[in-house]
Assembly symmetry: C2
Homo-oligomer: 282 residues x 2
């Protein structure tokens, strides 16, 4: 049997339990034995595996199975959330993807509870839902910038846990991914956006302002990991200085989650011989 | 200069004007000089071109440009609408895709005007919207099966034209694609769904019932093409017995539409030198 490219299953290597955000090596490639080239080659293979499993999930959803996957992506600007959508989610059939990006809440959204807009975007049966940012912004940017008083955001961790438990009980496999780059790597990536006219549109001067709050964000992320990493909705911490690694890691997390659903093709809900006869006649 | 693989631009070769649905050769490959192998090779190249253009559209949308693309897919069962989504739309970044499938209207949808659910799914600026079936079902299945009286569906053609003109004026480039397979080809594809356990889920006995209405559907499609093929929302008729051809053709239609938007990367809306200095300091 050929040696696995992983020394430790990715769900163990990246599990948030015990992680100290401030001490994280964002350049590491936990659990993976290979280098960039090996990682990129493997990603190509695993994208195909993911696509095959996704089709089964979709088929079951179409046949009434309520189960679905929700991938929650969190991370500072430039951490690579968009790249995950493009290169990982982009490998599966768009029909089976419910993608939602949560930016600054609109006026309408602000009139509702912060989970209102989230709940509306929960994936349907058979779908892979992707949240590019999420309800966690309500305990991250909101906490860092004092957008609501501490006793308001302070209650949200438990509320989020209850919300996620309800979704999990209804058939959603929740995979939460926190992507971390170093301050230096972020500077490199932001600089690239200033150097290349095809990247200007990705640059927002406010992203630089946020760099001053880095320690506060680390603290807020630490609280998120400490208080909302649950059995039914675990956090995985992805060192993301190396894009090839973060994409491979999230691909493996999705493959693992789909594998655990133990999906088969839905059985025929009609008499095959009868339908063959009808078809021959018509 | 190398010879183009197309003898006629695809927008001309496939334009619905003058098409007689009942006489259509669904096995043809209008305008394309090559065979299946050449078509499949070309598709790979053109998928990358489409993806590049789509990124520019998305970038402009993020920068406030309201323009977007709407691809409307219509066709009898097995015509290959799903394959277009998977293999054509699947080549672009999922962040830039608004996909909507319109099945039998729900109870809630039925309480509204038939365009209500359609309007809600119109693509946002920068997005490629994909309608898998659409408001045209309201003059196709509805007409064929007398779901509403003729004087009701009869008014819808003009109403749809007005609706589409409004959307076009607001910045939506509308591309409507009618995919046609022959009755024989449909039988082959339905048979395959009965032969392969990984395809059972795609089979619906009702699809066979619909075969008895083939001439009525052809007539209803003819009326759609005759009455709703407009300058601002043209129909293209895709012979779809050959999947490689239909996928290539729709890819070219999208590339053509994106090309006509004459997109450039959005300019920097900040002082680049100033942002470089700020970034060096922080």
């Amino acid at each position: 049997m050929p040696k696995s490219p992983w020394s430790v299953p990715v769900t163990e290597a990246l599990h948030a339990s015990g992680v100290r955000v401030a001490d994280l090596d964002t350049n590491a490639t936990p659990g993976f034995r290979g280098d960039k080239k090996a990682g990129e080659l493997l990603l190509e293979e695993r994208r195909a595996v993911l696509s095959g499993l996704q089709e089964k999930l979709y088929a079951n959803g179409r046949s009434g199975d309520p189960r679905n996957i929700l991938l929650v992506l969190q991370g500072m600007d430039t951490a690579g959330k968009g790249g995950i959508v493009r290169h990982v989610i982009g490998s599966v059939d768009p029909q089976g993807v419910d993608h939602a990006a949560f930016g600054v809440p609109s006026a309408q959204e602000r009139r509702h509870h912060y989970l209102w807009r989230i709940r509306r975007q929960l994936p349907r049966g058979g779908q892979i839902g992707v949240f590019d940012r999420s309800h966690y912004e309500d305990v991250l940017v909101v906490r860092v910038h004092d957008l609501v008083p501490p006793d308001v955001w302070g209650k949200r961790y438990d509320e989020i846990n209850r919300f996620e438990r309800t979704a999990a009980n209804a058939g959603t496999t929740i995979i939460k991914v926190a992507m971390f780059v170093s301050l230096d790597e972020q500077r490199k990536r932001l600089t690239q956006r200033l150097d290349r006219p095809d990247k200007y549109w990705k640059f927002d001067p406010a992203d630089i302002d946020e760099r001053a709050y880095w320690p506060a964000y680390q603290e807020a992320y630490q609280a998120v990991l400490d208080r909302t990493c649950t059995e039914y909705a675990p956090w995985y911490v992805i060192p993301s200085d190396r894009k090839w690694y973060s994409r491979l890691a999230v691909t493996e997390l999705l493959i693992d989650a789909l594998g655990k659903l133990d999906l088969d093709w839905p059985p025929a809900r009609f008499d095959i011989a009868e339908q063959r006869r009808r078809l021959a006649d018509l």
